[in-house]
Amino acid sequence: MTAGRIRSVVQLATCSSALQACSGWQSALDPHSQTAAHLAGLFWFFTAICAIVWVLVVAALIMVLRRRRESESVLPGDDFPHQQRRKAIIVGSLTAITAIILTVLTYMSFYATREITWPRKHVLTVKVTGQQWWWQLDYQNQDPSQSFGTANELHIPVGQPVTVDLEAADVIHSFWVPNLIGKQDMIPGRKNVLTLRADKPGLYRGQCAEFCGLQHAHMSMFVFAEPPAAFEAWRRHQLEPAATPGAPQRITGMNIFVHGACATCHAVGGTDADGQTGPNLTHFAQRATIAAGTLRNTPANLSRWLADPQAVKPGTNMPQVPMSPADRQALVAYLEGLK
């Protein structure tokens, strides 16, 4: 089993999937940042060493089986002193070699750690709060009026280090975007910090890596690494309140949203809906997915989600709000208009 083969297996498996965009989008071995590249490099180095060791051990076993014995003693357990000494020397040297290899690996690991965790100048701080089962994102800024909240989809400028403050609202979660950086736990009552930098534009998937209850499986996030200009445009847009609906159906939808159950948990900037327990939906239509990456954000999927969230994501805190199909359509129209 060589490094190359694993790589090809990975590529094969990912490329065979239906969606083009997802090729290696949650893979530790498809690094798109210096950090992840560093980690992948270290991984391949370790793998190579380990593979060699394993091959040698198996080779030894095969030789044990194939070997023609020099002499066979009559009694069980007879020792051959000259062999004993030779074997002692060999085992001793192998042990020494093992120790040396392990020392080298330890040092490499140590320096890699330092490399990765070295504090860097950052341009942006995002507080990520793990919730059952979604990600609350708060873009922070010295100037409070430049700060804003969103959910589940993290936009970052390419090539710029971003500080991610990791917190949790309920149970332990873990932030992990393998293409960019290794994971870090989000522990209630503690704050962990990661510095994230994407070196190539792209869409990267991340997923909660610490078991967090019923819907641990459907707690994913997307990182959009964008050229700085695009990011800046996105950021500025996030500061704006939601678009006011024009079409009558959308206005109906807005009223359902603002005066109904939706507003008790969700916020849409610029309206009276300012619930904080669910994801902020001010620019919902810009999001690629629904329910922390569970569904693609299409009107059909949104309708399906609203109709019966528990069928899609059993145990989610999103309730099944009874609604006529027409109302649901209006609501979908309103939400899909929140560009």
Binding site: C50, L61, V91, M108, S109, C208
Partner: protein, 635 residues
């Protein structure tokens, strides 16, 4: 010691009469009462093993359902609620109800035989430990079948398992199950330590102890130091949940990471509770099938002890991504790497022994080969996850799942299966079928690797652990299906084992005392061993006594033949010290275990149970120690 007129010594009897007499004194009547009251280590060890294998079956079935669920993306076979219970039950069962108990109780069965004594020290405690273990395991599974299976993982991280998010009584059952199993585990550890230290046959100096016994001894010491940590933490968890203490409440001065520290302080050594006895099994099998003494006995013993020590300095590598100080984490990287050295030494010594041994490629040895091949993969991936930076990518992914299954199945279950093939003749007097054994081995080997190797890749592809499903677009479906197929084959291999065992019990070839022509003392006893193990206690002058004295073993005489008596010897040189009585069969351990169990079970619902339960427990213990006027009370 008063001398009675009726006193009979073994010197006065010929072999046949002595054997019959002792068999009667030590024997367990084949009645229900006999079953309930026995304190014979072989009886208890055997039922311990059978019970552990039963829990293996249950845990394995849970795994099968999980594999079926994960076999295809977006599968709806089981929902998240059941899935979470399943993987928690799987992990908890395998770790607490199968792996640790079976390793301990193979020792309970074999250690007295291997060191030439008639029972373990504290046989009633031994019986007690079995019943407590049984009740604890049954309680957990009974809870599971009434939808109260724990669902916060076998590690029960707070706050998810805590009072706020661990809803209902599910985590309480988990936490109390820990109390049961650790109670029994500690009891066994104490027995093993005292047995090995004080009850060895004359002449079995420390450097003549079989490696398996060394492994059992090191494990017992580790259990003694590690298990209190998890008992304390699970008790804290219960207190948090039931009484509202704040050990893990970060908002009132507690800390959720405290749980992780305490749990892994136990949890990491626990892997070695499983692995070290397995190496002992390997070290027992290899000499028998290579016709060579184990190369590097002293190095192997020191490796075991070294592993035992180092195992306590590794726990933080389960917590590399919790945000602990990086420098401290690097220390744990170094210690985690260092633990590979003793493992390496063991492997080198095994290979060195095999190197010019006269190989008999029977099933046990096949499993040893399988063990080395698989375990080395697990060990090496362990070196990878020991590295903090690599761990940040693979932690809590299927890579780790693959890693520890390679360690635990490759490193412990393969030797265990080998051990079953090796010692089954001793236990039951019949050989297991070699042909089926080979089928068993190859199916296990193929199935296991097929099931678990792809998980390495899945982990690197980003598949986290403990997910009940995954979207098709992740591209994990193919490898998962492969893994499920592999798991099925692996299950098949166990069916072959079961078939083999059933067949052998009925019509297996009669084994004889020493079918493998092995060198250690257990093969000097009959197959199956008589209740007293040895009618006359052998005198040991070599590490492989049966190889040194193939025809007859020297024995000592002068022991009473009218009571249960054992020989107590000195710690280092094993020179005879004193004759000590060994307790008779009694129902009290069962009663004590039952009231203890009821007390613990009730304490899930009210803390007052501890207060009220203290009374019957006290009564049971009084009955237990009440002198009964037997001859055993004299000496």
């Amino acid at each position: 010691m008063t001398k009675c007129a009726s006193e009979i010594r073994d010197t006065a009897l010929d072999d046949g009469a002595l054997s019959a007499r002792l068999a009667h004194i030590w024997g367990t009547p084949k009645t229900f009462w006999g079953f309930m009251t026995t304190v014979d280590h072989k009886e208890i060890g055997r039922r311990y093993i059978v019970t552990a294998l039963f829990f293996l079956l249950l845990g394995g079935l849970a795994a099968v359902v999980m594999r079926l669920q994960l076999g295809s993306p977006d599968n709806k076979l089981v929902g998240p609620d059941l899935y979470n219970q399943l993987f928690t039950m799987h992990g908890s069962t395998m770790m607490f109800l199968f792996a640790v108990p079976i390793m301990e109780t193979i020792a309970v069965y074999l250690v007295p035989l291997m060191i030439g004594t008639r029972n373990v020290a504290f046989p009633r405690l031994n019986a007690f430990s079995y019943w407590v273990y049984l009740f604890g395991g049954l309680m957990l599974w009974a809870a599971f079948f009434v939808n109260t299976g724990p669902d916060a993982g076998w590690f029960s991280y707070v706050p998810l398992a805590g009072p706020q998010y661990g809803i209902g009584k599910r985590s309480d059952f988990w936490a109390q199950m820990i109390t049961y199993t650790e109670l029994s585990g500690l009891a066994v550890a104490v027995e093993i330590i005292v047995t090995v230290f004080k009850m060895r046959a004359p002449g079995m100096t420390l450097d003549r102890i079989p490696l398996f016994v060394w492994a059992a001894l090191v494990t017992a010491f580790m259990i003694l130091f590690a298990m209190p940590a998890v008992m304390v933490s699970s008790t804290m968890l219960i207190l948090d949940r039931l009484v509202g203490t704040h050990f893990f409440n970060w908002a009132e001065g507690g800390d959720s990471l405290l749980w992780q520290h305490l749990f892994w302080f136990f949890g990491h050594p626990e892997v070695y509770f499983i692995f070290i006895p397995a190496t002992g099994i390997v070290s027992a099998i290899i000499p028998a099938f290579t016709r060579r003494r184990m190369f590097g006995y002293v190095a192997l013993v020191l490796s075991l002890i070294g592993t035992g020590f180092l195992a306590f300095g590794l726990w933080v590598h389960h917590m590399f991504v919790t945000g602990l100080p990086r420098l401290g984490e690097s220390f744990f990287t170094a210690s985690s790497m260092a633990v590979a050295i003793p493992s390496g030494i063991q492997i080198f010594c095994w290979i060195a022994t095999l190197w010019d041994g006269k190989l008999r490629l029977r099933t046990p040895l096949l499993f040893v080969f399988g063990f080395i091949v698989n375990f080395v993969i697990g060990g090496l991936s362990g070196v990878m996850v020991a590295s903090v930076p690599i761990d940040t990518q693979v932690h809590d992914t299927y890579f780790v799942v693959a890693h520890f299954h390679y360690v635990l199945i490759g490193g412990a279950v393969f030797p265990l299966l080998g051990g079953i093939y090796y010692w089954f003749p001793k236990f039951y007097g019949r050989m297991l079928n070699e042909r089926l054994g080979r089928w068993n081995f190859w199916l296990a080997m193929i199935g296991f690797n097929l099931a678990f190797f792809p998980m390495h890749i899945l982990g690197l592809m980003g598949m986290p652990r403990r997910v009940y499903t995954y979207p098709a677009e992740m591209g994990w479906g193919g490898l998962n299906l492969l893994s499920t197929v592999g798991a099925s084959i692996f299950v098949l291999s166990f069916l072959v084992l079961v078939l083999n065992i059933i067949r052998s019990l009925r019509s297996g070839e009669i084994a004889g005392d020493n079918p493998w022509d092995a060198g250690t003392l257990e093969w000097a006893a009959t197959s199956p061993p008589e209740p007293q193990n040895f009618s006359r206690i052998p005198v040991v002058t070599d590490r492989e006594p049966l190889w040194q004295n193939p025809e007859t073993l020297p024995v000592i005489g002068g022991m009473h033949a009218d009571r249960r008596e054992i020989l107590v010897s000195t710690l280092v040189e094993a020179t005879p010290e004193v004759l000590e009585s060994s307790p008779q069969a009694t129902i009290w351990p069962f009663i004590a275990a039952m009231v203890t169990s009821v007390t613990l079970l009730a304490s899930i619902f009210t803390p007052w149970a501890i207060v009220w339960g203290a009374l019957p427990v006290g009564i049971a213990l009084t009955g237990w120690f009440w002198p009964g006027g037997e001859k055993e009370d004299e000496s």
